[in-house]
């Protein structure tokens, strides 16, 4: 076992600072949770407190139910006061992310199957073009895509957010490479038995590529949940905004006084929770997925 020759001093000498460093990584998160529950006076205290003396939920909503102009602009009040509040943005993000993930992986895996296992004329060229397109940064694409969406009248719509995100070249590339290793004999046997390609794909291939699919699912969910620039361009109203967009608007409108920091912290907290929970629940798949794409990429 590597490192077994190291003296115990060296082993623990390294571990303790690393462990402390890991705790410092947590510090910003702790700060975020702390700030979410502090009252305005406590937020401006100098030096700031590391333990809450006077916890409050005011950053989330005002329990006294005051009406403007006396009310505290907690986060969920932006649900009741304004027609579209934080919950709307959260649900929008959820809807958009899930739809994009499911649909894009569906079309990517069926395209990958064709490119990997079916003798379609022109499949070599198609694959080369797909791989080449991965080299092009999204900044080259997003101006024409914005113009296309505008001409289609899809600004400020869900389809404007979802449909341009559906063709995922990397997913096709990755899944095709993975499918290449599936045994042809099995597919041939199914064909001889009279199964249609659709059936072969759905009942044989899909179950076999589950590891690759879960890796792609994780990446797509993370990428789409946190996607900022495309919603920034496509959505100008409040009805269709996604979470990063909401957070950004909140940040630019109320990052003025000290009291508002509590609301910002509360918003960041809520925005972070879903992906953190997803990570903690699927840690193993996360790590395996990253390792898998690192090998094939």
């Amino acid at each position: 076992m590597v490192g077994s020759n190291r003296s115990p001093w060296l082993k623990y000498g390294i571990r303790i600072p690393v462990f402390l460093l890991a705790l410092t990584m947590l510090l910003p998160y702790y700060w975020m949770v702390l700030g979410s529950f502090k009252t305005v006076p406590e937020l401006v205290k100098v030096p700031p407190s590391f333990f809450i003396t006077d916890p409050t939920l005011n950053n989330f909503y005002d329990p006294l139910g005051n009406k403007p102009p006396n009310h505290i602009l907690g986060l969920f009040q932006r649900l009741t006061d304004a027609p579209f509040g934080f919950l709307t943005f959260f649900l929008n993000s959820l809807f958009v992310t899930v739809t994009i993930t499911v649909l894009s992986l569906l079309i990517a895996s069926s395209a990958a199957y064709v490119l990997a296992k079916l003798q379609l004329p022109g499949r070599e060229i198609i694959f080369i073009v797909v791989v080449a397109s991965m080299m092009v940064p999204w900044q080259v694409l997003f101006i024409p895509n914005f113009l296309t969406i505008k001409d289609l009248g899809w600004i400020n719509t869900y389809q404007g957010l979802i449909i341009p995100a559906l063709p995922k070249a990397f997913a096709v590339f990755f899944l095709r490479q993975y499918m290449k290793s599936l045994p042809d004999e099995m597919l041939e046997a199914a064909r001889i038995d009279g199964a249609s390609e659709f059936r072969i794909f759905g009942q044989i291939v899909l179950p076999l590529i589950i590891p690759a699919l879960s890796a792609m699912t994780i990446f797509t969910v993370l990428g789409e949940w946190n996607n900022f620039v495309w919603p920034l361009i496509v959505v100008q109203d409040a009805e269709h905004g996604t979470l990063p967009l909401a957070l950004s608007r909140l940040n630019s409108t109320i990052f003025s006084g000290p009291g508002t920091q509590g609301v910002l912290m509360a918003a960041s907290l809520l925005a972070s929770i879903p992906t953190v929970i997803m990570f903690l629940a699927f840690q193993k798949q996360f790590v395996e997925g990253i390792a898998l794409t690192g090998q094939k990429g």
Partner: protein, 313 residues
Amino acid sequence: MAISESNVRPDFTKRTLNARVALFRRMGAGYIMIAPFLILFLVFAVWPIINSLYLSFTDFNGVKAGEFIGTKNYERMWGDERFIKALTNTASYVVLIVSLNTVCGLALAMALRAPSLLNQICRALFFLPAVTSTIAVTVLWRTIFTSADYGLANTILHFFGLKTIVFFSSPEWSIPILVIISLWGGMGGTMIIFLAGLQSISSDMTEAAAIDGATSVQRFWYIILPLLKPTTIYIVITGLIGAFQVFDMVYLIYSTVGNIGGPLDSALTIVPYLYDRGFTRFQLGYASSIAWVLFGIIFIMTMINLRLGRDNK
């Protein structure tokens, strides 16, 4: 049954016909299966490349159709002070973040590679920021670096007897702030990839070296590091590509400060400048040419890295 021409031939033709029909059916299914992706891919990935290239040679401003102006956009770039500033800022940022991220990721992976529970917890802790939304991370760090006395960063500075620093108004702090935030968020991901690379190194070689008397440092430098080269190249390349495209952080912190540039344009990087030109001033032709220059830079960097990786045998 006697096998004669008339017996065999109809059978054979029928079988070939069936086979041909089945083949067409399969090809038909194939086309149907690849069609959704292909159509969307052509519309939203292929066509834009061509369109964007064309736009970069026009003066399109979003209202009237652009007129072809040849390479004027590209010529304009080299005289554009803001663009040059964006280039130099991006270069500093990229160099800093890629080198620090790679080194830190490797150090973490080396330190935490033993399969113990403590290591598992530490690894998860380091990776946690990577799954948090960049926007949430940036908003959080914005409050940490705030110049008011209750900001966390300044509190720590005061604790060590140092004076308050007004981070966001100091030009010399712009790039370092971006690097810090990005490092906090990215170290964990790099660590995971290095860990995967380390696991694929068999311990035979290192054990043999240990038996021969090599110290851990020697083992690391002469055995582990060279074997990690493919992983390192992958990390550097993807790191470069990602770092050149930095946008979210800069926009969130500096969009209202100096036209997305920060104090004295010290935080201006390429993509925010592209956004400013394209979506704030609607100079879409010029913005397209900036996008293509960015593409060119990334492409050249990637090629250089691949070549360097191949030569050093």
